[in-house]
């Protein structure tokens, strides 16, 4: 597990056309916002384009040669993506983004809870008053609002693990019970970079028979993840955060669960038999892929996975930790900077969030932007976490494999400049 040496990163960077552009009157772009969305290498752009120029067609529907080729490309992408996260191809459902993936689970549970016209196998997904869904205080809205809505629809109760001052999960803050039906949590916080204790959370959920939903949006793009070994029931992640296209994401579900779960979106390709009087559903994963899918995007995501495999996820992770270290060390020397989240590197990924005394995050971000440094400011779709720390907004720097130590070192200088500009230095 060695980190990437600078020459490797510089070589990599030339694969990403956007990284050589300039912003704000000629400054080189320093893109530290990969937690929001990552950039795409030529290899991914080329894979999608060559699919579109050679094989584009509706998948799983036609019998002509293009349809065969398109179906092969789409299913081959599914197989490679499944292997990338240690799953079977039949356990990978293509969705438009992770948000849809979580909604898919929540609505399938909602549908199960209504019960009419469903078989007994869907009973394990049913919720009602008295039942509980447990999340954490650090969740992205995508792993929070769908559960609130599910609880609103079914009468179940939403509870959450709280977060410690260090940005870790307080495992004592919730006692799971027999009424806990779902435990849903992020693998890695998109704000603080905290890696959650998956094994322990799974153990506790299993002990009460709850389903485990892993929001792997910030882990799959940044570290090796083997979903079968993690023993979670469901997981989601988005293509656009892992050097792949927007408009495609993955819902992983254990085969046995997908087999039993009622559908969410309905329409073409997810059916077995359709009569006006009623229809039956296809087996997974097709059951969950209604309509013409994001074909070229799946192909692009397949290429992204190949690209990441070429580097090695161990190396990606090590490199990002190195960048986090540089960011944390640099910021530690700037007076008035408070890191939100863990300052040590254990159980941590690359995102670094902070506030600056006397300068609002928006204003810090503006000064950084003026220097070509793109960071994200605001609540990063994790508003409850920000409330927990008594702040409305933070500055977040987040990385991917194409970022250099040099780039990250500019962060602290930029923050210093912001303090000066606003007269708090």
């Amino acid at each position: 597990m060695t980190s990437l040496e600078s020459p490797d990163v510089l070589k990599l960077r030339s694969d990403f056309p956007i990284l050589s552009r300039t912003v704000r009157g000629g400054r080189p772009l320093v893109y530290l916002d990969s937690g929001a969305t990552s950039q795409r290498p030529r290899q991914v752009l080329d894979a999608e384009r060559s699919f579109l120029e050679q094989h584009n067609s509706a998948v799983h529907r036609g019998a002509h040669q293009l349809a065969e080729e398109a179906t092969d490309a789409y299913e081959s992408a599914r197989a490679r993506i499944a292997a990338f996260v240690g799953a079977d191809p039949g356990e990978v459902v293509f969705v438009k983004n992770a948000t849809e993936g979580i909604n898919l689970i929540a609505y399938a549970m909602s549908n199960s809870s209504i019960r009419t016209g469903l078989g007994p196998e869907s009973e394990r997904f049913a919720l009602g008053p008295g039942d509980e869904v447990v999340i954490t205080e650090l969740e992205h809205h995508a792993n929070l609002v769908p559960w609130q809505e599910l609880c609103r629809r079914t009468g179940a109760t939403l509870r959450w693990y709280s977060v410690t001052d260090e940005g870790r999960l307080d495992l004592d803050s919730v006692e799971l019970t027999e009424r806990t039906k779902v435990v849903a949590f992020a693998h890695q916080s998109n704000v603080m970079g905290t890696v959650l204790p998956v094994q322990e959370l799974v153990r506790r959920a299993r002990a009460v028979g709850a389903l485990v939903v892993l929001d792997a949006c910030q882990s799959v793009p940044h570290m090796p993840v083997h979903l079968t070994s993690l023993d979670v029931d469901f997981a989601v992640f988005s293509g656009h955060k892992m050097l792949g296209p927007s408009g495609v994401g993955v819902l992983y579900g254990r085969a046995e669960l997908l087999e039993a779960m009622p559908p969410f979106l309905s329409g073409g390709s997810m059916i077995e038999l359709v009569r006006l009087e009623g229809s039956t559903y296809a087996p997974p994963p097709q059951r969950f892929e209604a309509g013409v899918p994001m074909t070229s995007q799946a192909v692009g995501l397949g290429a992204a996975v190949d690209y990441l495999n070429g580097i090695g996820m161990d190396a990606v992770h090590a490199h990002e930790l190195e960048l986090a270290r540089v960011a944390l060390d640099g910021l530690a020397e700037v007076p008035g900077v408070r890191i939100i989240g863990p300052t040590d590197l254990s159980d941590r990924g690359g995102a670094v969030a902070f506030v600056v005394d006397g300068v609002h995050a928006h204003d810090v971000g503006q000064v950084l932007d003026d220097r070509g440094i793109a960071v994200r400011v605001g609540h990063h779709c994790a508003w409850p976490l920000h409330r927990r720390f008594g702040v409305a907004a933070t500055v977040r720097a987040s990385f991917h494999v194409y970022n250099t130590v040099d780039e990250v070192a500019q962060l602290a200088d930029g923050v210093r400049a912001a303090r000066e500009f606003f007269g708090v230095a």
Binding site: H360, H362, D363, G378, H379, W383, H386, A392, G423
Partner: protein
Amino acid sequence: MQLEQMYQEIILDHYRSPHRAGLREPFDAESFQINPTCGDEVTLRVKLDDAGEKVVDVSYETLGCSISQASTSVLTDLVVGQSVEESMRVLAAFQEMAQGRGTVEPDEDVLGDGVAFAGVAKYPARVKCALLGWMAFKDAVVRVGDVPEKGTVR
């Protein structure tokens, strides 16, 4: 450095020493507004004269960036003492400038210190910051007519 384009000296002045800050009694209506992208908040109160035709006081508390704070401060300078009708004209002019992407030439006679925000209009992500207090003011004025109990928070 294009920063000075956005952060004109006037803006920084208002930011450092905001006018009419704080929440005051009496007031006719209060509005709470939030910027969903960044979580910034403003609570703003309006006091009109007995006829409901003139703006007598505007008081506020903000949790936000320099732009939103300064713009709320400038707002109070521009509307306190004016007729409600005139204040809405100013608001419309400010909004037009802020959303104009830098293409709208602001009228200093109408907007006073508000013209300093012309540079912000070139940064679309910050337009909402500049407008936060103004939207609260508009909402509060509407509420004066609407709401039976005073100071209801939406």
